[in-house]
Structure formats: C-alpha cells, structure tokens
Symmetry: C2
Subunit: 241 residues, 2 copies
C-alpha cells in the first residue's frame, strides 16, 4: 500500500493520526513500531524518521514525522477530505494552527510528563517521581483551564465553536485520553472542574465512534491492568495491617 | 493601519514575526507591549490575546497569537509574498510544518529555559538556577545537533537544503540568537561544535540584513550591558583578592 503509518498505539499523537486516517477514509497500512523493543531506534526506522519517534509516515517516497505536520499533510494531500478537518478558510485554518502550536508546550508537555511521573514510569523500568508529577500537575490543570476559557469559549461542541471536529480536536482529545491510565480518583480530581472539557471529549468520542474506541482499545486494556495491580496492592496492604 | 503587530523585541518569537513582516514588505504598525510592566496581562491586551503573551496580531477584526500560526497566516493572507517563505508545494510545506512542530519541545524549550536560568533570571528579580540550566543545556546541545544532522542535512544554505529562507529559518535562527546574552565563552562552548549551524545563522543573517540587525538591536544592547556588568564584577572580585 502506498501510505504507511508507523505507530505504537500507546503513543497519543500516533493515536490521533490513526484516528484521522480512519475517519477521513484514507487507505493506509499500519506498521507497528514496538517502542518496548526500541524498534524506533533501528537503522531501518531511522531512515524513515531520524528523530526515532512515532508517529511517522511514508507516502510513496516521501517520509514525514511530527504528528501535526502529518495530520495537515494527510488532510491536504488526499482528495475528498471533508473541509472541517483542516478548513481551507484562512481564518479558521489560522486558529487551528494556533491551538496546535499552543498544545506542544502546554497540554502535550504536561499530560505526557504527569502521566509518566505519576503512573507509567515503572512500566519502562523507571521510578515514579512525585516532585516532577506535582510540577506538571500544575501545568496540566492550567492547560485544561485554558482549553475551557480560550479554545472552547465560543458556543458549538468543538474547538472555536465549530459544528464538526478538526484535526486539532483529535490531537488534543487523544492527548487527554492518556489520563485514563491514572487512578480513577486522580483522573476525576484533574478533569472534574472542567465540565466543558469533559463534554467536548464526549462529543469528540461520539462523532468518531467506532474508530475512537478501536484506536484507544490498547489504552483501555492498560488502564484495566493498572487498576488490577492497584487493587492487588491495596489488598496486600490490608492483609498486612 | 490595518495590521497591528504586538511585540516586545526581547521576545524571540516576536522578533521572528517582525523580521518576516519587514522582509516580506508587509505594512504594519508595531505596538510595543512592555513585558517589564506586565502590559501583556492588562484587560485591553487580553482582549487581543487571552493567553497574555507576545507576539500577537490584529488584522482588521481578526486576532491571532502563537508565532508560527502568525507567520503562516501572514505568508498566506497578504498578496505577493515570495513562495520560498511558505512554499505552496505540499511536500516542502509539510517539511516546514515538521521542523516548526519539532521546535517547540526542543530548541525553543531549551534555549529559553537555559538562557533564563543561566543569565536572564536576575533581570526579572529571580535567582539563577544552575541545576535547571544544566538540564536544559543538555537539551539545547542535543537540539543543535539535530538541526545539524537532520534539518540541515541536505546541501544548500537553508533548512531542507533550500536556496532561500522560509519562515522556519527565521523562527529557529531568532531563537538561537538569544544565546547572544550569554557570557561569550559559554556561547562559544554551546555553538562551537556546530559549524553547519553557525554557517546557517550567518547565511540567514546575511540575506535578511539590514532588518536582521535592526530587529536584534535591543538584544545586542542587552548583551553589551551584561558584558559590562560581568567585567565590573570581575574587576571588583580582583580588587578584593
């Protein structure tokens, strides 16, 4: 197949690219890059993406990496993609670039770092780091407040008051979904105050089903595994008291 | 004037936007936002940019923030802008998006944080933080290596081997220019190993003169003030020995 999409589904930006391809009806071959086996650092993969990260794509002879660049390219290069994903209107498009830029140093940075330091680190053999988690907790909560008060301030279910989602809705919502692996109480503490954000996640999920659930399935499984581990730890602790 | 560009010239992304407007011959009014007086947090400015940051623009009734989104918008909305700044060719454009995305979490994050923690903090009443500086020093050096080996790997003076600069060259070079406020020895330690990067900075400067120097003038003055302070501190120290 002409378009290859290199992903590991535990990567948030990789999930956003997959979800977009499925929603836009783009034909592609999904190539699994096993991050736990460091396949993203093999000479073969570094030929595709010298930065050694997923997602990446190769489209005929053209290699591209960085998820937002990929989303924009796919929405522009394939025929018949619905305009709402990456509007041709200059002003709408500019706003989408604006929130995608903001995302990097705010929501993306804080979610990835918070989840890693407060839950995921042991999976890759690192200790949890409560001090780092606390720092990124603050940035994460501030980022969610900004989504609420700035990016979702116009009426309408999606970013900038749009009636239908854009690539930016997919990117940001796939990022926030990472909070699923947290302890349920912690996730609710973080998302609880942001009713508008919660409704927007629900709306984005709703219009992208069944692909949304299919793409996030591995995350839901990870969540279930973590919950089981937590229950077992709690039971062990209780039996020792 | 129809286009207003809100800046403080000590902001790297603000300088990139100014430099692009001047190079592209876009007519605009420069509106000074005094960050030292927290003018970016006034209700009037928050109407323009609710994130309270520079740069921002207002073009007739349209407000926009985030420097990369602004650069793309300006290159697209104004007539007669030379194609090399933001090529209409899909593949070239995709590569530019790719490096602009990479920039946020790598060069931008490391340069801003390194310079703040190792030199600028006292200017805004904060102490220097050698531990944080060391952390971002590592990311900064890695980012420069990536520019060298990935973004400048094709022959040709500019990013992706282009003959003429794009908005990405301006954004990245304006960021690196921030290193000018460092102690000369430290700056040379950081940039020294990256000959290709140094040549690219020189080439970008060369093709954007005299605007490049004019836009960076306030930075050069800050550099001179810092050098004088360092010399005086050294002399005081010597007189006490």
């Amino acid at each position: 197949m002409e378009l290859k999409v290199y992903v590991h589904r535990l990567s948030q930006p990789a999930r956003a690219v997959l979800l977009f391809c499925k929603m836009a009806g783009i034909q592609f071959e999904e190539v699994f890059i096993d991050l736990t086996m460091k396949q993203q650092k093999t000479p073969e993969f570094l030929e595709i993406n010298p930065l050694g990260q997923v997602p990446a794509i190769s489209h005929a002879d053209f290699n591209l990496f960085e998820s937002h660049a990929i989303l924009i390219y796919l929405a522009s290069a394939f025929p018949g993609i619905a305009d709402h994903w990456y509007p041709s209107d200059l002003l709408k498009r500019a706003k989408i670039h604006s929130v995608l830029d903001w995302h990097h140093s705010n929501l993306r940075r804080s979610t990835a770092a918070y989840v890693m330091n407060s839950a995921l680190a042991p999976v890759i053999g690192l200790p949890l780091n409560p001090q780092a988690a606390a720092k990124f907790d603050k940035l994460l909560c501030a980022s969610l407040s900004t989504i609420d008060s700035v990016w979702l301030r116009e009426s309408g279910p999606f970013l900038f008051g749009a009636d239908l989602p854009s690539i930016a809705d997919l990117s940001l919502v796939c990022e926030i979904m990472e909070l699923e692996v947290l302890d349920e109480e912690d996730k609710n503490r973080i998302l609880g105050p942001h009713k508008k954000v919660k409704q927007w996640i629900k709306d984005t999920k709703q219009v992208t089903l069944p692909h949304f659930d299919e793409v996030h399935n591995v995350l839901f499984k990870t969540k279930a595994r973590f919950q089981k581990q937590r229950s077992m730890s709690a039971a062990t602790l209780q039996s020792k008291m």
